[in-house]
Amino acid sequence: MKLTLREIIKLTKNSKNHSVKMQNRLLLYWGVMMFAFFAAILVILSFAGVFSNAEEKALQILSFQEKNSYAELSEQFSTLTAKGIVLSEKSSEIIENIIFPKGISSLDNSPKDLEIIQTILYGELDTILNSSPCNGAYIIFNATTNTKAPNAEKSKAGIYLRVVNISGKNEIDTDLVLFRGIPAVARKNDIELHNRWKLEFDVSNFPGYETAFNSSGTRISEECFWTEKTVLPQTWENMVLLRIPIIGKDGSVYGVCGVEISELYFRLFHPAMESEFGGIVTVIAPIKEDELMVSKGMVGGIEGTNLRSGEDLIIKEGESFNTYIGRDSSFIGLHQKLDIKLEGESEVYAVTLLPEEYYLKEEQSGRIVWIISTVILFITLIFASFFLTKKFVKPIVESLENIKSEKVSGISEIDTLLAFIREKEKDKGKQKLPEDIEELFAEFFERAKALTPTEKTIIRYYAEGKEINEIPELCFISINTVRKHNANIYQKLEVGSREELLLYIELFRRSGRLDQLF
């Protein structure tokens, strides 16, 4: 358990040269094996994309949502433009086929004709509002009820209907209010007047009204423009308007018509999509240099984000996706240019945004999960190695203890091995030496019988490794006496030198018969 990494390394280095505890050796093998297994699993999972990082995930989500948003916005705006063109053509037809045949060349000062035309066109606007992704539709005629009224030059007659009960889907039964137009038309159709109703439009506040009269008279689709976001007069609502001129057969412009998308309607129609990084917001807005002009565009549902519809965002382009930086919060996202004609020179973009804050948190949290999981798993593997090793070695150690105390080890393989070794030992005792060696031992033994006790004592000292000069002291005799005894010993034993004598002694020792000499 207390085996440190340093010890493991040392153990690995020395394992070949020194004897190592079996448990440590086994622990090392288990650890290495598990680590290798762990690493292999990680490599496989990484290749399989299981550990794809937050950036990849965010990019996938953003790319998918950006495609959807782009398709939805393109569809919504092109459908409305197409409906607006039809409305413009019908308005022109009604003026030319119903009003002009009455001998009237202008609708100015003709309240009754204006009421007739508004009554007819009410149905057209109602149809658009019931079948199109917008919340308001209008027609403005280049005429006024009373040319003598104050500010008559800026006041133009027309009809503007708005949906009251807007929601994210096309209502089957829309409740309309008359924002601009003749009250009698509202009464006939059983609808109420808007809280800020007025009889006519003040075109000085109407974005691009005058421009519509500079129509080139070519294709009407070339004349369809969307205005930048403006406030609906005297209300709390922001909106964008589609503006299409109503052009007669001779190229005269009778007025303008179009539809309205309020910011609230846009928000409900394009709700935020939930993701693991927070809400994904759809924005349609112009881009000026490196700034996303959110204040001039429309923002979809902002659930789960801190996006403010009035705050422009600085775009910082990135490799995978862009960062859109606001005053208090920033977003990651993608944008794509839409084929929508906007008043002025601006180009408008479909933008998909995700709160960067949650993306970063998710990324950080993913990293922490990853690190902690890895550490926990690694520690678990080490513990498992230690536990298994201990479990494996314990009976072996116990069996060795048993062997020491002459008991049965408890492990059949060890007991068998032990029995085999003991048998070998017995056999070893019984084993005979080769015949010539045996004869040599026997002759030497016969000759040794002739030795005196003193000579035998001297030989024993030699067997114990003593030198000749140590003998006088041990036997309390002189060196000359020792030499004399040596000469007798050599003669009796028939050896030529001390080395030969010591060789005999060693042979006797190795064969376990040394005691027989003394």
């Binding site: 009960n165 109420e192 809280n195 800020r196 009889l199 928000r267 984000t305 949290s365 902690i372 926990i376």
Partner: protein, 451 residues
Amino acid sequence: MKKFVLILAAICLVFSACGTKEKEKQPVTISIWHVYGAQTDSPLNDLIGEFNETVGKEKGIRVEVTMVSNNKNIHKDILAASNNEPGAPEFPDIFVAYPSTVMAMADENILVDYRDCFSEEEIEKFIPSFVEDGEVEGRLVCLPVAKSTELLFVNKTAFDRFSESTGAKIEDLYTWEGLYETAAAYAEWTDLQTPETQNDGKTLFVHDFHFNYFQVGTESLGGDFFENEKIAFDETFENVWKPYAKACLSGGVWLYGGYATEPLRTGESIVSVASSASVLYFSDEVIYPDNTSEKIEMIVRPVPVFENGTNLVMQRGAGMCTVKSTPEREAAAVEFLKWLVSPEINTRFTVSTGYMPVTEEAFSDYLPKAIENLTEPMYVELYKAYIETQEKYDFYSAPKFDAYLEIETTFEDEIRRYLYNGRNEFIEGEKTPELLEEAIKENYILFKDFM
């Protein structure tokens, strides 16, 4: 080994707790449908913006206004959502409704009982009768956030012209009898302005809720409007009917649908009884059919009463209902509502929308100062009339029973239809006082039989 297991478990716990905390930090966005401001500049929207930037920002709550309409439209959409009708919108988190709407819902238990979210002390801070108004079947489901009453609005500029010519007085409008007589006289006078066109007289008076006129009128004269959850149609009711029907058949009362502010804006009527909250929708400018416009002076007075009746007026003002969803969303909704009914905020909100605050503290400590600081003439007039109403009138709260809403809706639509048709029939014949009396009786019987 045990130690090791414990350490591992602790690490896992800490780690999972961290993960949960991260998720909780994402802002909770709640939606609201309200009526305060309708299609005009909405003071509540501004307050919601303030909440989002302050308390909401701090607590991770965003309130999104997804509909600003009137009670009628919200009622319609709530019932459609409640009955899961095809194409119905999804419920918002908070919506404004009267208890009658709640009672008409398929399942009113989908709404939060505020007694589960507000402490007893918090509930006690509300004016008790307002809390009672918001209860349905013993559950507090409509939280009072602003209360209103009915007031008399007069286009003084136009009335003065009529007065100069006929001698009519503003004071005539302070009783129902006087008001209806003046209405008939106004219709006649305006008809005479264009001798070349017959029967083009204008209506003097428009009432937002004819049903309320009859209900409060009958009760103020000592009668019972309801009997066994049905309209009693007793003698008192008939007494309330007579002056009203006379004025209607004479052309002095507006009988089209819609709110009272509408004909006042177009100059088609010049006097109305409407909710105090309609001050937001009245304009100080009248636009006439020839596209000329006129700046007007609007005066506000307490609602007319019967000469022999008590001073009784309808207590109005819907409450805010919270739809049950997730604990986070419900908590966020309640957090917002608690902020909205806190005395200072509630006073700012109500005074800017023509309502009265809902807590005792706001009434006593904040409202007087707020009224003193008013500068816009119409609002000054409004709160003057409000205070007079409080001093001199008793407030009437409509009873709560399942069929109430259906009776109210049918009554409101049909009484206008019967008298509109009666008026057309009357002007087609000889307009004698005898025929008028006959028409009053005949239409009463027709209407009574229909109901």
